[in-house]
Structures are given as C-alpha cells and as structure tokens.
C-alpha cells in the first residue's frame, strides 16, 4: 500500500519537476493533475493503468508546458535593464574590491617590514578599516537591480493572447 503511494508520489513529483511554468500556474496545473488522478482512482482504475493512460512524466510535462505556454510570464524589457544594472554594479564592486585588496597587501608589506611581529593584527585592522569604507552606491544599485529583476518576473500573464 505504501509502496503504491510512494510510486504515485514519485510520478507526480517527476511531472512537477519538469514543469517550466510560473509558480501560481504550476500550482493550478498540479491541483488539476492530482484531481485527475483521484478521479481515475474513483472510476476504478489501478495506479498502473492511470500512469499508462496519462503517460510518462516526461511526456505529461512536455504536453502541459506546450499547452500552458499562453499562461507563461510576459517578459518585461525593464527586467533585463535591471539585470544589466545589477551586473554592471556587481562587476564594479568586484574590481574595486580587488584594487582595495591589492593596495591593502602593498600597505601591509610596508607595515610588515617596519613593524615585524605585529603582522596578523595589522592584517585584521587594515582589512576591517577598508571594508568599513565599502562603496555604498554600487552596493545599493546591485541590490536594486537584483530586486527589480526578480519582482518583474511576477508580472501577470497576458489574459488572452490574440
């Protein structure tokens, strides 16, 4: 009994995993798909027969993806502007950090030569005092860009594509 349940659960999960749809649409499709299974069980079909009738997870998901493509997200062009913004500020941040790190190492070498045994402590101080001056504007732009990118994915799909 539990074996049969597990098999069906695996089957349903395999279908769900292959659905390439927005989250709400996926939930809607899966609620109907589970309903389709229980209706067939009530009609007296065995789990084996149900899976054969509905098809392999790959075939079911491919069919659902095809049928539901009108319900996919409308891609906002602003979404990609946001991604570009995030990428540019991300790269800027990385480069500026590399430069900082490089300068920091140079500085430490100087300290090391003069100060001798105080090495580890000065590394710590130098690192923390430098990261305190982290560039806030590119960081904010990076966050805003990523936020925009993810929020704009959630635009409602077009009602009737005609």
């Amino acid at each position: 009994m539990t074996d049969a349940e597990n098999n069906m659960k695996r089957y349903v999960n395999a279908v769900e995993r292959r659905l390439n749809l927005p989250r709400e649409i996926k939930a809607r499709v899966m609620s109907d798909f589970l309903s389709a299974i229980s209706a067939r069980r009530e009609a007296g079909l065995t789990d084996e027969e149900i899976r054969r009738e509905l098809g392999s997870p790959k075939a079911v998901a491919a069919e659902l993806n095809k049928q539901m493509k009108d319900f996919a997200y409308r891609k906002s062009p602003w979404r990609f502007a946001c991604l570009a913004l995030a990428a540019v500020s991300g790269i800027y941040l990385m480069i500026s950090m590399l430069i900082r790190w490089y300068l920091c190492n140079l500085g430490l070498m100087g300290v090391g030569i003069i100060g001798g045994a105080d090495g580890p402590t000065s590394i710590y101080i130098a690192a923390s005092s430098n990261s305190g001056k982290a560039p806030l504007i590119p960081l904010a732009l990076l966050a805003a860009g990523l936020l925009g990118f993810f929020l704009l994915r959630r635009i409602r799909p077009k009602k009737t594509p005609e």
């Binding site: 609620s31 109907d32 389709a36 209706a39 009530e42 069919e63």
Partner: protein, 115 residues
C-alpha cells in the same frame, strides 16, 4: 496526425463544448474528457493537458468556478467546476451564435442561397 486547420477549428468549438457540458451539471476534468470522447464517438479524444488552458480561461473570465469536493471513501478530494450565472448566459449566447454560424456555413458549402 491532424492538420493545423483541424486543430484551430476544434479549439474554438472545444471551448464552447466544455462550457456547455459544465453548464449541464457541475463536473470535473476526467468526466469532461470521458463525456467528450464518448458522446462524440471518439472524435474529441483529448489529453488532460489540452483541457487545462480551456478551463483556466473560462475560470479567469468568470464563466465557471472551481471548488473542491470531498473524495468518496479514502480517496483524495477532486476539483469540481461549475458554471456561474454569467457562464450560463454566455453558453446560451454561444449556442445561438453557433446555430446561426453553422447554418450560414452549410448554406455556403451547398452553393449559397438559390434566388
């Protein structure tokens, strides 16, 4: 393999038929598929997935509404679709449209009005 023409023609008709069947009595996906297949003598043999976009479009337009029925015995609940008031009216309108449309098409196919 049916042609693009067959598919496109069936699509609109199917949406009309699904709404009509739901108007007759509240029903669920599997029953809709079975009724379409049996009552059409096998020419409307759909897959589960074909039905979903039709149901969702009808639901989003407020013509039908979904609810969960408790499953009989130890089975899990099923999603039941039933027509709204607007859906019943729309079904009547579509039936009238279809009757008029099919009569016109038949007339044209049999050589137009003989005057």
């Amino acid at each position: 393999m049916e042609s693009r023409f067959d598919r496109e023609m069936k699509k609109g008709v199917l949406e009309m038929l699904v709404l009509h069947l739901i108007c007759l009595r509240p029903t669920y996906g599997y029953e809709l598929l079975s009724r379409l297949r049996e009552d059409s003598g096998g020419s409307f043999d759909l897959k589960e997935g074909t039905l979903y976009p039709i149901l969702y479009r009808l639901e989003d337009d407020g013509l039908i509404a979904a609810s969960w029925s408790p499953g009989a015995g130890k089975t899990t609940p099923k999603k039941i679709y039933q027509a709204t008031q607007a859906g019943i009216q729309e079904d009547l309108r579509r039936q009238a449209l279809w009757t008029e449309f099919s009569e016109t098409v038949s007339t044209l196919l049999t050589g137009g009005n003989t005057k």
